[in-house]
């Protein structure tokens, strides 16, 4: 499939290029926008592999929520990127070492050929064929894993309670308007007519 290969290479190159731009761009807003571009291309790569559920989730969660959150943070906090960059040269040797280690590992894994390409078929719960994988997940999430699914719901509830408990401040020194009380007031009680004598004041 030369067409698929072509699409793959285009997506892969754009992914890597925009990932590099995320790290190197001078404007933090540009960096976040490049991050979004990276996610979009990664989505395309997932689609090519037939993992359309992961592709959707990546778009919804990473682009829809996390990248937008980053954008808000970048815009609201006045982050000075020049300051952040100051340690770049001092971290370079350590970072370079990690890159070399990771690269060696990658080459060893590919070079030794110790990859079983049919591992998916050997799994105890293989990927169901003839079924889109969103549907395959839907089939188990409400049946086999219903308990774990509900546990996830309770985790979200607890984190919501936590966020409210830790941030809600009941302020007593603020004057608030109560519409009911306002409507129940009679004009005789609150309005006082005063006869003002000329050039004397009240």
């Amino acid at each position: 499939m030369p067409l698929l290969a072509l699409i793959f290479y285009v997506l892969a190159i754009v992914t890597i290029a925009s990932a590099v731009m995320v790290v190197t761009s001078r404007n933090p807003v540009h960096a976040v926008l490049f991050l979004i571009l990276t996610f979009f291309n990664a989505t395309g790569l997932f689609l090519l592999m037939g993992a359309e559920f992961l592709a959707m989730i990546l778009l919804i969660i990473y682009v829809g929520a996390i990248a937008v959150l980053f954008l808000f943070v970048v815009m609201m906090l006045n982050i000075n990127l020049v300051m952040l960059r100051q340690g770049f040269t001092s971290y370079l040797p350590l970072g370079g070492l990690i890159i070399i280690v990771l690269l060696t590992e990658l080459i060893m894994v590919i070079g030794l050929g110790d990859i079983d390409l049919n591992i998916a078929a050997k799994a105890t719960s293989p990927i169901p064929y003839h079924v889109p994988n969103a549907e395959a997940i839907g089939r188990v999430i409400y049946t086999q894993y219903v308990l774990a699914f509900h546990a996830a719901g309770i985790i979200l509830l607890v984190s919501m309670i936590g966020a409210i408990v830790l941030t809600l401040r009941q302020r007593t020194d603020v004057k608030r308007q109560s519409i009911d009380k306002q409507n129940l007031l009679l004009s005789e009680e609150v309005v006082e007519l005063v006869e003002v004598t000329r050039s004397k004041g009240v």
């Binding site: 050997k122 799994a123 105890t124 719960s125 049946t143 086999q144 894993y145 219903v146 308990l147 774990a148 509900h150 546990a151 996830a152 309770i154 985790i155 607890v158 984190s159 309670i161 936590g162 408990v165 830790l166 009941q170």
Partner: protein
């Protein structure tokens, strides 16, 4: 599917489901009730926990939710201890919460949710539910640690706990995913079947297991994953420290036991040295680092690290005798912790809590009963017969000797001797030093009751040793 068959599916998890529904109801009640809902909510939480305990006792041995959830004797034993710990921590929090200006009705509710997480942890029979339950328990605990948001110490402790906890959760999840990658299943039974059929295990699976052990060791605060414990214990309010010292540790240790003994039993040769190493490091760090402490909560933190190290000696045996000894140890640990922390809560001077060991000087003159009770707990923790702590340690070392782990038993006994130093030092301070400024008279009746009650239990533990040991023996078979 009709209603009757649905009920038969969810019955094994009825304690947990009951807990969720009650917690949600109480949350609504707390929101819509007037500003003084704390007391009613707290008492309702205690009643709910006791009802849950009854449901736990009545549940049967079965697998549920297609093997995701397991209810066995082992889970029941641990769940009872967890509920006991939760009830205790709500009871002793009353006085503390009354003093804070906010109406924190969420506090007992968060304890309910964390208890739910812990109960699911003890019943988890699948890596997915394992991770979910650990997260549920941890997230509620992060909030509880930070609940006193106006004090710098509490927020600092909460943030530290949150950041390190999130890191350990990541390690745990990574381990789970590697294990899934190499076995092709997340179910504990599936992993056990895989390991018994495939004799040659790949090193990748061992790496996954090590990640899993590291993540769990963090939750149990086993050295070298213990760094957060002293800071968090010291920073959070004392009732929260009491909660942290008891229920989460018991739950995480139970999960540790189940994961090691049930799915990875066939890898015993691989994980036994790791567990043995972790327990040696913990007992030594717990024993040596506690000597330098001046704050009693930090001292208890190191003491708990050592206690968890002893429990891991029982796990290193890797058989039913070992599990029995851990269950016995946890039972004695529970009562000692309840007692000691009630004592620490009673330490107040000029109406504010004090936490230094030097504040206990001359306690035998000013508070003879409290001094006697604290002496009993200290002697029990250092393992003096015939107190409860002695039996806990005795069973642990016997199981290690049965499994031919002589070195482990020897180091354990050595470190017991070292740790006896700082327990005895507290007794010396209480009995043989002059009081500079006496502590306040004890006003909190609940703490006083817990103090005296657990002291009695620890002294007369040897009378009930036979029935408790029999229960622990019947609960030691993990799985069905």
């Amino acid at each position: 599917m009709d209603l009757a068959s649905t009920f038969s599916i969810i019955t094994p998890a009825s304690p947990e489901i009951f807990l969720v529904i009650s917690a949600l109801t109480l949350l609504m009640a707390g929101l819509f009730m007037s500003t003084n809902s704390l007391k009613i909510i707290s008492y309702s939480t205690i009643i709910i926990l006791l009802l849950t305990a009854i449901l736990v006792i009545q549940s049967e041995n079965t697998l549920a939710f297609q093997g995701l959830f397991i209810s066995d004797n082992f889970a029941r034993f641990i769940k009872i201890i967890i509920i006991l710990g939760a009830v205790f921590s709500i009871l002793i929090s009353f006085e503390h919460l009354k003093r804070s200006e906010n109406n924190l009705f969420e506090y007992p509710l968060l304890i309910l949710f964390t208890t739910l997480g812990m109960m699911l942890m003890t019943s988890a029979n699948d890596l997915i539910l394992l991770y979910m339950s650990v997260e549920l328990q941890s997230i509620a605990l992060y909030v509880i640690a930070t609940i006193q948001r106006n004090t710098l110490k509490s927020t600092e402790a909460g943030l530290k706990y949150f950041v390190l906890g999130a890191l350990s959760s990541g390690i745990l999840l990574y381990g789970c995913s590697i294990i899934y990658g190499f076995t092709g299943t997340t179910s504990f039974n599936g992993i056990a079947t895989f390991l018994s059929t495939n004799r040659s295990t790949s090193p990748g699976l061992i790496i996954g297991l090590i990640f899993l052990i590291s993540g769990l060791a963090f939750k149990v605060s086993i050295a070298p994953f213990h760094m957060w414990t002293p800071d968090v214990y010291e920073g959070v309010p004392t009732p929260v420290t009491a909660l942290f010292a008891l229920a989460p540790k018991v739950a995480a240790l139970a999960l540790f036991l189940r994961v090691m003994i049930d799915p990875f039993r066939d890898l015993l040769i691989s994980w036994q040295p790791i567990i043995a190493f972790l327990s040696i490091v913990s007992v030594l760090i717990g024993g040596l680092a506690a000597i330098m402490q001046t704050n009693i909560k930090r001292l208890m933190a190191y003491s708990s690290i050592a206690h968890m190290g002893y429990s891991l000696i029982g796990l290193a045996s890797g058989n039913e005798t070992g599990v029995t000894s851990v269950l016995m140890y946890l039972t004695t640990y529970t009562f000692t912790i309840i007692g000691t922390f009630s004592g620490i809560l009673c330490m107040r001077r000029n109406d504010s809590p004090v936490e230094n060991i030097s504040d206990l000087t001359g306690l035998s003159d000013t508070h003879p009963i409290m001094a006697l009770a604290l002496m009993i707990f200290m002697l029990s923790m250092s393992g003096i017969p015939p107190l409860a702590g002695f039996f806990g340690k005795w069973f642990i070392f016997m199981s290690a000797i049965d499994a031919d782990l002589y070195l482990l038993a020897a180091i354990g006994i050595l470190s017991t001797v070292i740790s006896a130093f700082y327990y005895l030092r507290i007794i010396k301070i209480m009995y043989f030093e002059e009081a500079i400024e006496p502590l306040d008279a004890i006003i909190d009746k609940k703490s006083q009751l817990a103090l005296c009650g657990s002291a009695m239990i620890i002294v007369f533990f040897f009378l009930f040793i036979k029935p408790i040991h029999n229960t622990a023996m019947s609960s030691s078979i993990i799985g069905i």
